[in-house]
């Protein structure tokens, strides 16, 4: 049953919140007091509840089934974390209260930092970045600040593999760098020769490299230490995209690989919920070379307790946002890490990698692994197995919906044709994986058997059929508008 928009249900008089009557005294709003209506419909509380509960049931969610989005790391979100995040000493504390009244909050930030630095073997972490891409910005800003401090203002070229997340080049540009793309080798990793050539072509302009490891093909960059050495030798810095850190936690420390900066997606690796698109949190670990350039604010420990450094002085490249970052995510991530502990975190990493390899191995006879061999936490397939079937990656993905699954990541990384990137995470049981594998095999066989129409029609069991994205982009309707005749309609 189609759900109406609140604008089609509510009206300007109804409200779901009882408030006392204002006494109606003088106004200090001055000349700019609002005239006229805003245009916000109100619903009573029962109507509101029903509206959003109904809507919610049109969503897929981890709590409903396998969510194999490669590079997105959809893992179990423990409800303990939600409970802790709502404790009043974390949730109901103002960021600008006197420092003496927020000692618990600062201690938590300090503990979180300790965990992150230890897991990474890095000497510093900037907690403030508000998401992964914001963390990239933090790391690249720190690199730029260091370069500028060293008078290396000509170093503005950042090497980025073609398999990189889109955020990498976008971030580099947002920091005033130019992007120089490195091609992949046949085994899905950085082409070392090409890299050397890129560096050698103009070593003095190299600001650094942005590399994801394991990379977006789900593969560990075997030559990573050599790559780090090459970049360092050229006078640049190594930014590691930490989106896939969940494949390494407790088994490999970025600090041991020569990384200078890496953001950590608390919402991927440490299980803070994705929430339909955030909020995330992107604490960024920094090497000795970069740590003095970290943004404000940060927590320091003094004799009297914890303190916050908020003013920009010294070498800090500045402030990235108001206040101190995503406290609500810190609480969840620390709760998660403490629950797992050093042993559980390592085991989780191992299970994530095992699950991915199990999926890859179990499907390699009916689908086509892009590179073969052992993978890390995600299994990458290309569309060769769909050749001549008329079924494309998109169709295959939509057919997965009818099997009861969220599709895997499609058409990314770009280096693989018709890519299908599957990340099961450690949260899936063997039983669930076996069912998932069965569904995938079933679809692969259907495709090969020529049942193309089924794929083209898919999904048919979802809350909606395929949506027309072209129309949406061509004539964007981005908000509700009231029509002039007093009726309401989408613009």
């Amino acid at each position: 049953q189609a759900v109406k928009l609140i604008f089609e249900v509510g009206d300007l008089e109804t409200t779901g919140i009882d408030l006392p009557e204002p006494k109606g005294g003088k106004s200090r709003l001055g000349a700019n007091a609002r005239q006229g209506t805003i245009g916000l419909p109100g619903l009573s509380e029962p109507e509101t509840m029903r509206h959003y509960v109904r809507l919610s049931q049109k969503n897929y969610a981890i709590d409903l089934g396998v969510y194999p989005l490669g590079s997105c790391t959809m893992k179990h979100n423990p409800r303990l974390n939600e409970k802790v995040a709502r404790m009043p000493g974390f949730a109901d504390v103002h960021p600008l209260q006197p420092i003496s009244t927020v000692q618990g909050a600062l201690e938590l930030m300090s503990e979180l930092s300790h965990w992150l630095m230890t897991l990474c073997n890095m000497p510093a972490v900037a907690l403030t970045p508000k998401a992964g891409a914001h963390g990239e910005l933090c790391g690249m800003m720190a690199i730029r600040a260091r370069l500028d401090a060293d008078g290396q203002t000509q170093r503005r070229r950042v090497l980025v593999p073609e398999s990189a997340h889109g955020t990498n080049p976008a971030t580099a540009v947002q920091c005033g760098f130019t992007v120089d793309e490195i091609p992949a080798s046949g085994d899905g990793r950085v082409n070392l020769d090409a890299l050397k050539e890129k560096i050698a072509s103009d070593p003095d302009t190299v600001a650094g490299i942005m590399l994801t490891n394991p990379n977006t093909c789900g593969l560990f960059e075997r030559d990573i230490i050599e790559i780090a050495d090459l970049i360092h030798a050229a006078g640049g810095y190594f930014y590691c995209d930490g989106a896939n850190f969940n494949a390494l936690v407790g088994r490999v420390r970025p600090g041991d690989l020569g990384v200078d900066a890496m953001h950590i997606n608390l919402h991927k690796t440490f299980s803070t919920p994705h929430g339909g698109g955030g909020p995330g949190s992107g604490p960024t670990v920094l090497s000795d070379a970069l740590k003095d350039y970290a943004p404000v604010p940060y927590v320091v420990e003094t004799k009297e307790g914890y303190d916050l450094v908020e003013a920009v002085d010294s070498d800090s490249f500045g402030r990235m946002c108001a206040f101190h970052g995503q406290m609500g995510m810190y609480t969840r991530a620390l709760t998660y890490m403490m629950s797992h502990g050093s042993d559980g975190l390592r085991q989780a990493t191992e299970d994530a990698v095992l699950n991915a390899n199990y999926v890859q191995a179990s499907l390699s006879d009916v689908m086509t692994p892009a590179f073969g061999g052992v993978c890390m936490h995600e299994a990458l397939f290309d569309d060769r197995f769909l050749k001549d079937t008329g079924v494309e990656t998109l169709d295959f993905a939509k057919a997965m919906i009818d099997e009861g699954y969220h599709p895997m990541t499609m058409y990314f990384p770009l280096v693989v044709h018709g890519a299908m990137l599957i990340e099961p995470t450690e949260s899936e049981s063997k039983q669930e994986l076996d069912r998932f594998i069965g569904s995938m095999r079933h679809l692969a066989e259907k495709a090969k058997a020529g049942e193309t129409e089924m794929f083209k029609q898919a999904p048919v069991y979802a809350p909606m059929r395929r949506l027309d994205e072209t129309q949406a982009a061509r004539k964007p309707v981005l908000r509700w508008r009231e029509l002039e005749d007093g009726k309401l309609a989408a613009e």
Partner: protein
């Protein structure tokens, strides 16, 4: 290991299927020197009870706003959030869903985003809004970058009354993109003067109203001057509830409106997560950063919603994207939308009236105290006091009396006037709180 479903026998069977003899074999590509054989030096796993106990102790070491008379604002505002809001955002289907890239199984999130965009557009008086930013300050910074992109000019004029954190976050992003920013004299009553800074090189003027001192600024003359020089007016707010009480920036000529949405639906959270609001004119829509949800139809012709205009975004455009933003503040946007839906026009209007009334009452009480001067001519729910003693000392003294009595200007603007105190009152303040504050402030200042 309560979060890990694999049993040891599962693991053994699966290794067998993979065709390796041990887990170590799966990490064969890691250089030997970087392979950890031992556990890192951190505590081992703990029971839920033990973790909860530890976190409970940490929580108890801070003074929560709800436990004392509380008057802090300056960019984060404490309002009563209905239980319905927090209940709904915790539903699995909202909480544990990804970004709605697969619209067929994401209509729940998408439709709420469409409602969110519509509400934000209505509240700001703008044509369109995006699906949220990290927070108000980063939205402000992105708006300045966008203005550069739109105007191809590189000078940004920030108003003296812009929240210093917003100015700093903007400065950080601007610095690497060769955007020149003026020196700001962060004092009350100075926002009119910024008009003088606007010239033909100006890409944008950034004005906050109510500003960080709580003053309500008339944007119209600034818009006029800006537009005369083909610059954009970026209007900023930090308290969304204020927009229900004052003329919306969209009616005053703003081209872009950015601000903090936390005040509706989202708790203080010690500063984050909050939710950035970003709205602009129809003309500028394809230059907006961030995700946008749009209406369309499915294969059966049924109305549905999708993420759209993604050719602006990094995952498609890579280095040519309008921003590197990827994850936004989806769940907080949902909370905003649910709270706003509950409020509706009638509710938000009344809420705004109650806030204003509370602030008026408090301002009257406090400004009657010796050594206290009310700085503002106008305000919504926050105002600035000039105290006879340094505000930071006063606030610390109040904290010892278990009153969180506002934010000293120097906390956010270290070189600002040390005697200025920003004070906020909302519907959550009880009359007893006012009396307690008044008494304590008298004592501290005497």
């Amino acid at each position: 290991m309560r979060y890990l479903p694999l049993t040891d026998s599962d693991r053994a069977q699966m290794l067998d299927v993979v065709g390796v003899s041990s887990i170590d074999d799966l990490f064969q590509d890691v250089p030997k020197s970087a392979r950890l054989s031992d556990l890192v030096d951190l505590p081992k796993h703990q029971s839920e009870q033990a973790v909860e106990r530890h976190m409970g102790k940490l929580s108890a070491k801070s003074v929560s706003a709800g436990s004392v008379p509380f008057f802090c604002g300056a960019g984060a505002y404490r309002h009563h959030i209905p239980a319905t809001v927090d209940h709904l955002i915790q539903r699995s289907e909202f909480l544990t869903a990804y970004t709605p890239y697969q619209p067929e199984v994401s209509q729940g999130t998408l439709m709420t985003l469409f409602e969110f965009q519509s509400q934000v557009a209505a509240l700001t008086g703008m044509d369109v809004a995006n699906a949220s930013m990290y927070d108000g300050s980063t939205a402000c910074a992105e708006a300045v970058v966008m203005a550069k992109r739109v105007t191809r000019k590189t000078k940004a004029v920030l108003a003296p009354g812009l929240h210093p954190h917003y100015a700093a976050a903007t400065q950080t992003l601007a610095s690497t993109l060769n955007i020149q920013i003026n020196e700001r004299d962060c004092r009350p009553g100075r926002d009119d003067h910024m008009i003088d800074h606007i010239d033909d090189d100006t890409a944008c003027v950034v004005v906050q109203s109510p500003n960080v001192f709580g003053e309500i600024i008339d944007l119209r003359p600034i818009a006029e001057k800006a537009h005369a020089h083909k610059a954009l007016l970026i209007a900023v707010f930090t308290e969304p509830v204020a927009l229900a009480a004052i003329t919306p920036p969209g009616e005053q000529g703003a081209d872009i409106v950015v601000g903090e949405g936390q005040g509706i639906g989202v708790g203080l959270n010690f500063g984050g997560p909050h939710v950035g609001l970003f709205a602009c004119t129809q003309k500028l829509v394809r230059q907006m950063p961030g995700r946008v949800c749009g209406e369309t139809v499915d294969a059966n012709g049924e109305r549905g919603f999708v993420l759209t205009l993604s050719t602006r975004e990094q995952h498609i455009r890579r280095e040519k994207a309008t921003s590197n933003i990827c994850t936004n503040s989806g769940l907080c946007a949902l909370a905003f939308t649910i709270h706003m839906t509950l409020l509706g026009e009638a509710g938000i209007t009344r809420l705004a009236a109650l806030n204003h009334e509370a602030a008026c009452d408090l301002a009257d009480r406090l400004s009657a105290i010796d050594g206290v001067e009310l700085v503002n001519d106008t305000f919504f729910n926050e105002f600035t006091l000039k105290l006879s003693k340094p505000a930071a000392e006063v606030v610390d003294a109040l904290a010892e009396k278990n009153i969180l009595g506002g934010v000293p200007l120097t906390r956010i603007q270290p070189d600002g006037d040390a005697h200025l105190l920003l004070v906020c009152a909302t519907e959550t303040n009880h009359t007893d709180d006012f009396a307690a504050f008044e008494t304590a402030l008298k004592e501290v200042l005497s």
